[in-house]
Amino acid sequence: MSEIWELRRGEPGYPPALEELERPPERLWGLGERELVTELDPGRAVTIVGARRVGEHGRDLAESIASDLADAGLVVVSGMAYGCDSAAHEGALAAGGETIAVLAGGPDVVYPRSKRSLYRRILAGGGAVVSERPPGTPPERWAFPARNRIMAALSCLTLVVEARAASGTRITADEAIKLGREVAAVPGSVTSGLAELPNQLIRDGAALVRDAQDVLDLVLGVGVATVERAGPPLDEELAAVLAALDGGAASLDALALATGLSGESASVALARLELMGYVTTDELGTIARTSLRPPAEHNS
């Protein structure tokens, strides 16, 4: 493992974004990719936070949004806690993107301890772990709210996925508001406890986001970047069938005619595309394209 590095306030390398805090950390210790922190552009970073105890839905949401954002080149900042936080890191890692974990204890103290594997993968995957607490310091209770202000300061937008009204997530959102940074939230049912905070924030003026595309529009401006989900690679025949579908063919017959394939080959191709996730069919057999795009050609 790489060595612990230290950034001092007032010296080169200290992230300017932290200076905007009311009480910026005097020193910042870190592990992993130092340049990721020293050259961090908050305009290309998003903090994703949420409850520790969330259902499959919250975790999936955090993970898929983080993954799409990382795919679009944004840095995902979070706190490595259970639930939404770690899901956000996992999503970024899965997309091969960059992610920063801000810890409440020293940068070499893995907390929660069961997240050791995630911690190692963040460091191995070109990410970084930072903390204002010296190496070896255990995470005391009071350190968590303080840690949250650093998470909010490192990015231009804090996204709240699922959380209760009174929670650590609330503190991160409040810090972002104090800094004048954008706050966004994914809405949920008004009767769901885990949607309390996001719904409240939206009522109070936070941006409503449904997916990563909404976040990208907020951070980079509308239309600057689109979430491109690349599916598995396609051979020539499948690519031709997909092109016919994009060209408006809506039935198996139309596909076969448009591509010149036999009924047999066209049906095999359609089933393959469905299995790969490129298309769906409903009970009436209506064929619809999903948002999945064919992967870009590598050697063109």
């Binding site: 809506a250 017959d253 139309a254 005619l257 009924g263 047999e264 049906s267 089933a271 393959r272």
Partner: protein
């Protein structure tokens, strides 16, 4: 001799049961009664018999006449006893030689002028007569070719049965004489089994997926559902299906003709025997579709035996009628049980159903469709339930584009049928005659061997498409047929994918 008996048959369902007609003539006030649970048509037989006898140059006795139909506990219906009652009565009076009636069965209706008319079910009667070792069967002239069918198609004991065609009651005088008319098997042409039936697949232009679905349905005996708006060729497609099936074998032809004969429609089938194609209207009653009423009559499922049953506008059929399809689809026969007897009707048919996407027919994606979403779902839901396990294939069709319609005619039925026959032979050899469409879960495990890639493809389908256990089995059955068409022992990934594309979507 004041009493005589002759043999005849009554039809129960599509089977003939032997009935012995005994006539007794005694002194007393002139009367004529028929006993032995006769229905109204049989009781009225007295008037026809009286007039026919008088008009044929015989004398009708002014005595007390009792005709008894044995067994006495079996209900008897229809006009088929006329000829036998008249013959027994004439034998009583020795106007006919009683010994000439020994070993003879008679079946015919009498016209008042003495003409002998044909009755339904002569084919089954001739079969039964041969089984019972009866030497001769006397039938109306026009029934003779029908009575000869078992001998043509089945041979065996049926060949020993002599068929005596008669025009008039008076012809019975020739029984046992050198001048006795006989039906000559050798001179009579055997029925032609038509090479093809229905519309030709060449007429189906510009719909490759639909053609493929028809080929799979024919090759594996899979139930097929065609979804699409009016004018998309659903009905034409269904009518092409009989032409894709292998020609009837002799045994199958006999089954089809036995049913037609029992319904009194054998003549029409004889000219050119084809696989039946039945398309009952959606207002059909349960009894009309499945069979029933008293006496039990075959329903559409039986009339479609060895052929195609086409249910157009499936969503409009009565729910109880569709529920009634369960037994015929599962067992290949209909059992109708009454207090006194049980009849069975064969019902092995290929099921093709067509449905509009929604009640208005335009489809939910059409701008003018105003059907509420619930209605669409309910409409489609009718297709599950009873039919769920027997419809393995679904294909969605659109109105073909103009240029496709004017294009080249498609591959003709004969070419497709050659592949179908080869695939069916493969399956029959492997599975002892059971078509792929009838394989149950245990048989699928036994006969469907997947390659590694095939297994993976199926597993992906199971995961990615949320297939149910039944859906899984349906895909396997179709994949087996695709492999058979490709002349392959193992079911590969392409075969599974082809089956997945034609699976029924959104069904449990």
């Amino acid at each position: 001799m004041a009493s005589a008996s002759v043999r005849t048959f009554t039809l129960l369902g599509i089977e003939a049961r032997e009935v012995v007609v005994e006539v007794d003539v005694t002194q007393g006030l002139p009367s004529f009664s028929v006993v032995g649970l006769p229905d109204a048509a049989v009781r009225e037989s007295r008037e026809r018999v009286r007039a026919a006898i008088t008009n044929s140059g015989f004398t009708f006795p002014q005595q007390r006449i009792t005709a008894s139909l044995a067994p006495a506990n079996l209900r008897k219906g229809g006009p088929g006893f006329d000829l036998a009652i008249a013959a027994a009565l004439l034998a009583c009076r020795h106007e006919l030689d009683p010994s000439a009636l020994a070993g003879v069965a008679l079946a015919g209706e009498l016209a008042l002028d003495g003409t002998v008319r044909s009755v339904p079910g002569v084919l089954a009667m001739a079969e039964r007569a041969a089984e019972l070792g009866i030497e001769k069967i006397v039938v109306a002239t026009e029934s003779a070719p029908e009575a000869a069918l078992p001998a043509h198609l089945n041979g065996g004991s049926a060949k020993d049965l002599r068929i005596v065609p008669v025009h008039r009651l008076a012809d019975l005088r020739m029984l046992g004489m050198a001048a006795e008319p006989g039906y000559d098997f050798a001179a009579a042409p055997r029925p032609t089994l038509a090479a093809t039936a229905g519309r030709d697949l060449a007429d189906l232009r510009g719909q490759p997926a639909l053609r493929r679905a028809l080929e799979l349905a024919a090759a594996g005996g899979h139930g097929l559902l065609i979804l699409g708006p009016p004018g998309a060729g659903k009905s034409l497609a269904a009518r092409c299906l009989p032409s894709l099936l292998p020609p009837l074998t002799d045994a199958e032809a006999l089954e089809v003709l036995r049913i037609a004969s029992a319904c009194g429609r054998a003549d029409a089938s004889l000219a050119s025997l084809q696989r039946p194609f039945r398309a009952p209207h959606h207002t059909v009653s349960t009894a009309g579709l499945i069979g029933g009423s008293t006496p039990p009559r075959p329903g559409e499922v039986t009339l479609a035996h060895r052929g195609v049953l086409f249910l157009d506008e499936l969503g409009e059929f009565r729910r109880d009628a569709l529920e009634g399809l369960r037994q015929p689809l599962e067992d290949g026969e209909v059992t109708i049980t009454r207090a006194a007897y049980t009849v069975r009707f064969p019902s092995r048919f290929l099921l093709v159903a067509a449905s509009n996407p929604c009640p208005c027919g335009r489809g939910p994606t059409h701008p003018e469709c105003e059907c509420p979403p619930g209605a669409v779902r309910r409409y489609q839901g009718r297709i599950s339930g009873a039919l769920a396990d027997r419809i393995d294939l679904a294909v969605t069709v659109e109105q073909p584009a103009g240029e496709a319609l004017s294009g080249e005619p498609g591959e003709p039925s004969v070419a497709v049928r050659a592949r179908v026959i080869a695939a069916r032979e493969r399956a029959a050899e492997r599975q002892g005659g059971i078509p792929n469409g009838e394989l149950d879960a245990a048989a699928l495990r036994r006969y469907v061997r997947l390659t590694r890639a095939g297994r993976q493809e199926l597993a992906r389908g199971y995961r990615a498409l949320g297939l149910s256990g039944r859906g899984h089995d349906r895909v396997l059955r179709v994949a087996r047929t695709i492999a058979d068409l490709a002349d392959s022992d193992l079911v590969d990934a392409d075969h599974v994918a082809g089956a997945l594309a034609m699976r029924r979507k959104g069904m449990r």
